[in-house]
Symmetry: C2
Subunit: 217 residues, 2 copies
């Protein structure tokens, strides 16, 4: 997969086949993750890889329950339940529901952890680039995943279960596996809404989406 | 450039030639950035692209001054000044000094902005993946850059200068240009230190760096 093409076609994958990820590929995915930049190259990120065994299974169970509860509230509040099934929103809702229903069987769940320094947004600059590298590398090897923050509701319990130290926080929960269905073009806002030239609010005439780009509603 | 190869060879670039970035390439770089995931696909990130003209130049001047001040303190405190010139630390220090000395002439500086929702680390999950896409796409097109947080000391002034609204924060300042010198393999911690299997602290026997990987000290 070519770099820019890979970036343009890495979408959130929430439906996985039961196929495992061979350790050789996991290794390549995490190596790619670890190439990400971080402040002063400190690399304050650590990856806890949950596969089989009692602790990983208990962690997946805990996350599945937490996801289910959070989604019950969110889907009602934000109108996912009433969305037309084949609309983008309807399909997103159904993909999320699928992920929740099958979370316990997801082949690999990576807890991306970090030791924050500033306890603010900027700490993310030293961990989320690694998450994106991880997702892109997974795409490059035929896998897929999705960056979630749904551990937040059970972070304390999850940390205790997995022996994660007090001063470490979980920055992301990333399920990974072989996609059912395919990667492909994404839906985003028009680039004109996102890019300003010289100052806030001044649109950049050169910021144009390639022909055929699909947009969010 | 192949996706995994591109990820493995995108290093922080701090020395730029005076060559500009054509708008067509800037467009492709920012399009790639905008393919990144964000919570509920909200895309709370905006890119303020600083090139020529009075406001961008004033913004670059302000950042250059702020970088210079912050670096004077940091390089003394963290022993960069005493580092052997050709050691990794010595070379990093000299690259940073070069960036500061030439920051006013950097062809493109992107202020990556975001509207935070949680005012914590997790907000970063919706903006730093876009920063990493941006850096990777730049690499793919023959450019380079570095993710910095050095706007922090002058964020208020910079926001006022660029008309950035109060509820928006600057998440990253990314200089971009044609690298002097080349991309190439990175120095990182051994993967064994970063990857745990099943629970914190349990090393993953399959987590191995490819032969020839270079490590941080």
């Amino acid at each position: 997969v070519e770099l820019l093409q890979g970036i343009a076609t890495t979408r959130a994958i929430r439906r996985f086949s039961s196929a495992p990820i061979p350790e050789q590929d996991l290794n390549r995915i995490l190596f790619a993750a670890s190439r990400a930049p971080s402040g002063t190259n400190r690399q304050p990120y650590r990856f806890v890889v949950l596969r089989d065994g009692p602790t990983p299974q208990a962690a997946k169970d805990l996350l599945a329950e937490s996801f289910a509860e959070a989604w019950a509230t969110k889907s009602a509040e934000e109108g996912y339940e009433e969305a037309t099934p084949m609309s983008p929103r309807g399909r997103l809702g159904s993909a999320i529901q699928h992920l929740i229903d099958h979370f316990r069987e997801v082949p690999v769940v990576v807890l991306v952890c970090t030791t924050p320094r500033h306890h603010s947004l900027i700490d993310g600059a030293s961990v989320y680039p690694a998450c994106q590298n991880l997702l892109l590398a997974a795409r490059g090897l035929g896998y897929g995943g999705v960056l979630t923050g749904w551990h937040l509701a059970v972070e304390r319990e999850l940390k205790s279960l997995c022996g994660i130290p007090d001063d470490v926080v979980i920055a992301a929960t990333i399920p990974l596996g072989v996609p059912k269905g395919s990667h492909g073009p994404l839906r985003r806002r028009p680039l004109r809404e996102l890019v300003f030239e010289g100052q806030w609010g001044t649109s950049a005439p050169w910021a144009e989406d390639p022909q055929g780009t699909r947009f969010t509603a």
